[in-house]
Symmetry: D2
Subunit: 160 residues, 4 copies
């Protein structure tokens, strides 16, 4: 099995810069998560964007879609900010013959306490098990792309 | 969705006791992992054993099997030592109408660097997605119970 | 021995709020650090402010000074943002008969990789060993209050 | 300031080997602790032994003493198992003109929850502040070599 990882930014990769007293998207934590997870499958990681998902444009989403369509891989895990995870999933929906799982985190992977590792674990399992289609792996669940929303008040994803 | 977790011991729950300069099975880390993972589904955790999996007996495995059979739940995640994960999976194989995912860790969950969180994330995804049957979630993969072995020399699980 | 801890905010206590995509001062991490450090001495922790140190006013510093002067304790550890650590130390300098150690962190205590625990360890040692006076514990060193500056470009403290 | 670190093994450096279901002394964690601590002073780390401190012999202690005596450095931090920390300190006591701080941990540095980082922070502060002599940095305190014992039942060090 081969999984293509594509990183786009978001909370999962956020880092704190003391000099600026600011929190920005740093380099992707996916490699560290897979190494610590002792995974035994082939993969490659491509970094496409380093953005808060609120800053992702329609053009960015089309670029992500084309990147996936033009890639020979069948199994994809996309790391992404949570605020527009659902919007990006909608754009990707319809790509044929590929299993695409979007994931992210509500708390940065660099924190001692984070949902990032758990979420990437779920995404990796879903990418190898699910039928072709687009899925979200977050809040302890695997959602189909068109049947999920972020509940901002409760800071979690829910089935609709 | 409801998932029943059953813990049996193993490396995933190991803790170091300085007084004895020894490493023993401590209380289960599953609850902490699910809390940090910000999961949003119903679950209960039952502690059945606290053993190294090399110490699990045939009777223990039958007791685990009966516990699952007598439980109304349809989705199970079992945490277990890795040395006899495959043997226990073989005993559980054949239980009808239930999706049972065994997982564990090669490095204790209490370590800074551990595969435990990633593995439980995979197991939770598999427990909700897979057809009824028995599976292993470890080494970055979801294996069917009868098609996997532990490669001790390389400290990983492989498809057979 | 008794040590009085006073927390004022700063990077050491910063937490990330996903809802706001913002990083703010959260509740103090000192209690967790002392518990994990398995310390065996008497202490109490008072929370005075929850501010970035750039937001601390002259009035705040006077309030901190009076709090220390009116306290019976002889040994103090103050957690504080790093940007104005030196300025606050200057205001406290001159309080007689008390050993006062200011510390903080360049990376939040909630991060997997942080200097917070190391710095508080240094501060606790200095608070019990040093002559009455005001000190900084950071960048692996114990500085006297009037002989230190923050080098912002190199993100560290240096003797002057 | 220059600090010479000498590592001798002990719980602080313990690692878990799944293949053996055993816990052994691994490579020293001091370098990681100093790097994460963002220290800004000169140092070198020498690895002398990798032993449980119960396995250290009289010859080992003499070798440690000679190593220190023959070293030009004035400030030393020694990482060491806790079970015979007091015995080794007694052997080193009397070396003139050097500040020697022994430290260790009751919980391995590789654990998420450990006293190792806090203890090394205390030791580094003590090594630069204390008069020549031999000290222990553990249980949140700086002890003089001849005035401390390990209370095994309560798993902590106490002044005598």
């Amino acid at each position: 099995m081969f999984i293509r990882f594509i990183t786009t930014g978001g909370t999962i990769d956020k880092i704190y810069f003391d000099a600026l007293s600011q929190f920005e998207v740093g380099e992707s934590q996916i490699e560290h998560i897979l190494t610590d997870g002792l995974v035994n499958f082939d993969y490659e990681i491509a970094s496409l964007f380093r953005k808060d998902s609120l800053e992702l444009t329609d053009d960015d989403r089309l670029q992500l879609k084309e990147t996936i369509e033009n890639d020979d891989a069948r199994h994809f895990v996309i790391s992404h900010g949570t605020d527009t995870l659902v919007e990006t999933a909608a754009v990707l929906n319809g790509i044929p013959d590929k299993t695409i799982v979007l994931t992210g985190a509500l708390s940065p992977a660099r924190f001692k306490t984070t949902d990032a590792v758990f979420n990437v674990g779920m995404a990796v399992a879903a990418a190898q098990m699910a039928e072709p289609g687009v899925y979200l792996a977050i809040s302890g669940q695997i959602f189909e792309a068109s049947k999920v929303r972020k509940n901002r008040d409760r800071n979690r994803f829910e089935r609709i």
